[in-house]
């Protein structure tokens, strides 16, 4: 490369700073027993490994901060990493928590739930948070919707990234469909369906005939064995309420 070429390159911009918002899964920590956290976390991941693989995750330390509990922060981070997640930051921690996070090159994220430090249990606050997210989320872009008209067969895996997934045929047992947004299946859903795969708790699953092996929204899942017989084989919608999965006939 000649010197003048180099100069030209220096003139034309190779970078640009932009801003964009992402919905990230939050790992709430309610206690500091590393062994128990590890056990519960790996049990959760085991049930939906694809959901967690390489997923950036933010740790919410506000319940610990509220009770001035310390935590082996490096331990939790390495637990997450071992399970395939990419911990990127914390929120809601106290000064000591934040210092530990900084030492591990983690981001300290603005804490929208700071006020909750004084409010007792953090769980009931979740729906409000989901609602807030819904309000702030950009409208689902029409072109991000993925339409599939052929049956999705055992062993196949479809991921509608950044949007909704519509399947007009059936989804076989042994198949897996994933959407960052909603999932609609106008045939029989026999395989696994994971909506809100990037953590959007407002995502829903709609299907004409529920016989799924597993359904999940934003990481909250239910396996076939635990599904109520009364809704099996029916047209249903699945959504999150207080972070628990609700399955209702349509």
């Amino acid at each position: 490369m000649s010197a003048s070429q180099k100069e030209n390159l220096a003139e034309s911009p190779l970078i640009e700073l932009k801003s964009s918002s992402f919905t990230l899964p939050i790992l709430m920590l309610f206690g500091n027993d590393l062994a128990v956290i590890g056990e519960q976390l790996s049990r959760t991941v085991e049930r939906a490994p694809d959901f967690f693989r390489n997923t950036p995750i933010v740790m919410d330390l506000s319940p610990l901060a509220a009770e001035s509990q310390q935590v082996d922060f490096a331990g939790v981070v390495s637990l997450c990493r071992d399970l395939g997640m990419v911990p990127i930051g914390v929120r809601g921690g106290n000064t000591e928590h934040n210092r530990a996070a900084e030492a591990l090159a983690m981001a300290i994220l603005a804490d929208r739930s700071a006020k909750r430090e004084t409010a007792p249990p953090p769980k009931p606050a979740a729906p409000a948070e989901a609602a807030a997210k819904r309000d702030h989320a950009p409208p689902s872009a029409g072109n991000a919707t993925r339409l599939i008209t052929q049956p999705i067969r055992s062993g196949q895996r479809v991921h509608a990234e950044g949007g909704d997934l519509i399947v007009t045929a059936h989804v076989s047992a042994g198949a897996e469909i994933i959407a960052d947004g909603h999932i609609h299946v106008y045939g029989t859903l026999r395989g696994r369906a994971l909506a809100g795969a990037k953590g959007d708790t407002a995502s829903r699953i709609f299907c004409n005939d529920l016989q799924a092996e597993l359904i999940a929204i934003a990481g909250q899942y239910q396996v076939s064995e635990n599904m109520d017989d009364s809704i099996r084989g029916l047209p249903v919608q699945v959504y999150l309420e207080n972070l628990s999965l609700m399955i209702h006939p349509l």
């Binding site: 052929q150 049956p151 055992s154 042994g174 029989t188």
Partner: protein, 268 residues
Amino acid sequence: MARTIVVTSGKGGVGKTTTSAAIAMGLARKGHRTVVIDFDVGLRNLDLVMGCERRVVYDLVNVIQGEANIRQALIRDKRCEELYVLPASQTRDKEALSKEGIGAILEQLSGDFEYIVCDSPAGIEKGATLAMYYADDAFVVTNPEVSSVRDSDRMLGILASKSRRAENNEEPIKEYLLLNRYSPKRVKVGEMLSVEDVQEILSMHLLGVIPESRSVLSSSNAGVPIILDEDSNAGQAYADVVARYLGEEVPHRFINDKKGLLGRLFGG
């Protein structure tokens, strides 16, 4: 231009070789020049079912590796002069198969034959995926049981994504369901999935239902494709399948248990 049919299933022992032999013979007997190729390298048995095992000189792998030309390897059937068999190798391993090699053989056969029937090995590995790669039509052989249906479903997914037609964005492979070893009696008592159950799970076109029949084993032991046993239910069912595939309207039989007294005494 030949039409290439793959007989596939995922699961082993469901009747792919039986079906390949029967439909190849059926097509040839209707006057269509047909070759049936055994892709089950290492476990060849199409030649046994076709009754030509003692005339095998060269095989598929020899041709792919240039040790013989295709004419030397083809075995002409003694009962039907429109029918040829290209046997598999029993001594080589399936790594000897290559996509390019198979492509070149099919290309050569395509000029001389109307139908090329590929008897696929079980599994979803190399032999099976190569057998289906160049297919125009797929006969998916399924037994009326959950594990077999599940494997067929898996195979359909692979057919839809890993074929030449899929890679070139051409019209997809036509898929036909062949439900084999069907026993209306066992369906009735709930030991087997019904035709409706299987169709509901796979949602694909039903080409035919082949009943469970003892004649199948005895005729393959004798090296006679079952379709030549015109007295057997299974032979008749395969004849229907061939006719349907060629566009004739033939009602489905052997789905319900309504044999007459004579049938019950002598059937099977």
